[in-house]
């Protein structure tokens, strides 16, 4: 499937949705995130790529303000993180499912809706429709399949229609058909102005992103559209590019 049309990079007058400056997070001697600086424009989908343990989840947690940086800072929609207020404008789908297995699908959605101040059945119904779980709304989550739980987890991140979405490997365990629908939905959201940062290990998904950020050992090693990345790596295969750029020095812009 051909990648969607990529909007042009924003001009100087559009403020970035997300900014990171010199972000560092260390755990003991390990530099899980190491001096990451970037600006991400609103209404675009950014793919975060990198091997296991390269710091993707930690970077997302820093951006969402769930952990304090050792150095540097992060800003979302003009507000320095961490900021609890700002969390109302952020949706975070964690790498673990993070849903209540003793509750039903509908109860999970109602709960996360309520903590975000979203009432009524309409937002829950809309979120359920996106992940195609409407027929399971009264099932206990513990009885769902792994992929179905993953879908519920995504629905919980969408319930309050946040302008910024962090999705940590959202499609793990999701079947190919639904995966395509997910990405179509992400595109719809982005077109409506939502900024999406999505980590993934799947290269055909990476190709659907407007821009890719390569992370290795906590460092941002490359950034660009799929086409640019391929050109830079001198290959037509994104997977090859991933392997080649894995060890590259930072090429940020």
């Amino acid at each position: 499937m051909a990648p969607q049309a990529v909007p042009d990079a924003p001009g100087g007058n559009v403020p970035p949705a997300i900014r990171a400056s010199g972000l560092v997070k260390t755990f003991g001697t390990l530099r899980a995130v190491d001096d990451v600086t970037f600006e991400l424009a609103p209404g675009r989908i950014y793919g975060l790529l990198g091997p296991n343990g390269s710091g993707k989840t930690t970077l997302i947690r820093l951006l969402a303000g769930l952990t304090l940086p050792t150095a540097g800072w992060a800003e979302v929609l003009g507000t320095r993180m961490p900021s609890r207020q700002n969390l109302e404008r952020i949706g975070y789908m964690t790498q673990a499912d993070g849903v209540y297995t003793a509750l039903t699908v509908a109860e999970n959605l109602r709960f996360f809706g309520a903590v975000f101040g979203v009432d009524g059945d309409e937002p829950a119904a809309a979120a359920l429709a996106v992940v195609d779980l409407a027929d399971r709304r009264d099932s206990i989550v513990g009885t769902l399949s792994g992929g179905q739980r993953r879908r519920l987890s995504l629905a919980c991140a969408l319930i309050h229609r946040p302008p910024v979405l962090f999705l940590d490997e959202p499609t793990v365990g999701v079947d190919p058909l639904l995966r395509v629908e997910f990405w179509a939905h992400f595109r719809t959201l982005a077109d409506a102005g939502t900024t999406i940062v999505v980590s993934s290990h799947v290269m055909d998904e990476a190709d659907r992103c407007d821009e890719l950020l390569f992370v290795r050992s906590g460092r941002l090693t490359a950034r660009g559209t799929g086409r640019e990345i391929r050109a830079r790596a001198g290959t037509t295969d994104l997977e090859q590019a991933f392997l080649r750029l894995g060890g590259d020095v930072a090429v940020t812009r």
């Binding site: 304090l68 961490p82 975070y92 499912d97 993070g98 209540y100 996360f112 101040g117 919980c156």
Partner: protein, 381 residues
């Protein structure tokens, strides 16, 4: 602090407990079973069956005493028989069902006073102490009979309640307090640990929810069930609903029928304050546990000392002085005391001792709620 977010957490926690049938059973049925059993044990334990063998090694003087003692023992329901010497007495205890041997002798010199040596098996110190006490009473009454002047009887009266009160009336308050603490701690600890390990806490922290809202929501959710549990337990302890005989079924009564001299509502308040502290303690300790098993493993450290040092089993006043400072910081201690003030003394809110108990329990609950909120890790200020 947002009311609707607290309400959302409260509703969620309550829904989770409601779905969890085994835990509900643990909450409601287990305490009733155990208090029922304890009551049965304390009230209906049988008087020790004493079978004595008597040996006289002190000649005529001993003969006289032996006869008087034997009569007094038999009067007290003891089976008495004579044997030739101490070896025979020991053999009778070892082999033929005698429970106690009584050796009447002298410590040597012909005019020295008589001694009575009591021999018991030694395997069951508590049970045998009761038998020795039986012998002592028999000696006293024999002495009274011999001297012809009745010894003064000892009468016992108490400030609160009566000395002949059902043992369960002091025990029931302790048990009610302990169960509320125990079950609320386990359920909260395990449930919050799931929140940490299941990734839902991480997710919750990515919402506008504050730590205080989480602790409050949990306290309300578990508090609700603790409240119902305590209400059921207190009703069970105080109630005695007689069910008449029906066909082949004998008549029986539901409830322990413990007398309460104060307001059950005050008793209720004491236990609810205790339980609120237990919710926060569960949240706090779940920080240090990585698995549900580890939450259970904290019980010997956290709950067993409270059980031992709070007058549930051993009266606080008899505990070694070195342990007294520990006693002073055990929340359960104040709950047990508060409940006894209400159950037995009939204390109302004007009684200083009860006021102290309530204040300490409230402070402890607030303290643990604060540290629980602090341990819900979130770098966001």
């Amino acid at each position: 602090m947002s009311r609707r977010r607290v309400a959302a957490i409260f509703r969620r926690v309550a829904a989770e407990i409601r779905r969890d049938r085994p835990s509900l059973a643990l909450l409601f049925i287990a305490p009733i079973l155990i208090t029922g059993l304890v009551t049965f044990i304390l009230r209906d334990s049988q008087a020790p069956q004493v079978t004595a063998v008597v040996v006289n090694t002190a000649g005529v003087r001993g003969q006289l005493v032996g006869t008087a003692l034997g009569a007094a023992l038999q009067h007290g329901g003891v089976t008495v028989s004579d044997v030739a010497d101490e070896a025979a007495a020991r053999a009778a205890i070892a082999n033929s069902g005698a429970t106690i041997g009584i050796v009447i002798g002298t410590d040597g010199a012909p005019v020295s006073p008589l001694t009575i040596t009591v021999i018991t098996n030694g395997l069951d110190p508590a049970g045998e102490a009761a038998q020795v006490a039986t012998v002592q009473r028999a000696v006293l009454s024999a002495a009274g009979n011999a001297s012809g002047t009745a010894l003064p009887a000892i009468l016992h009266t108490t400030l609160y309640g009566t000395p002949s009160d059902d043992p369960i009336s002091t025990f029931a308050p302790a048990i009610v307090g302990f169960f509320a603490y125990f079950f609320v701690y386990i359920l909260t600890g395990v449930s919050f640990l799931r929140e940490r390990t299941g990734g839902t806490l991480e997710r919750l922290m990515a919402t506008p929810v504050t730590r205080g809202e989480v602790v409050l929501g949990y306290t309300l959710g578990f508090g609700l069930f603790a409240t119902i549990q305590v209400a059921v337990l207190i009703l069970w302890a105080l109630g005695s609903l007689h069910v008449p005989a029906l066909g082949p079924l004998p008549a029986f009564s539901v409830g322990l029928g413990v007398a309460v001299n104060g307001s059950p509502l005050l008793a209720f308040l004491v236990v609810v304050l205790l339980a609120v502290g237990a919710v926060s303690l569960g949240i706090f300790l779940s920080t240090f546990a990585r698995t549900e098993l580890q939450v259970i493993q904290f019980i010997p450290i956290v709950l067993a000392p409270q059980f031992l040092l709070s007058g549930v089993l051993f009266p606080v006043s008899t505990l070694p002085s070195i342990l007294q400072p520990l006693v002073a910081i055990m929340p359960l201690n104040y709950a047990v005391d508060g409940l006894r003030q209400v159950f037995i003394r009939g204390a109302d809110l004007g009684v200083a001792a009860l006021q102290l108990d309530l204040i300490v329990l409230a402070v402890v609950a607030a303290f643990f709620a604060t540290i629980a909120a602090l341990t819900i890790r979130r770098d966001v200020v």
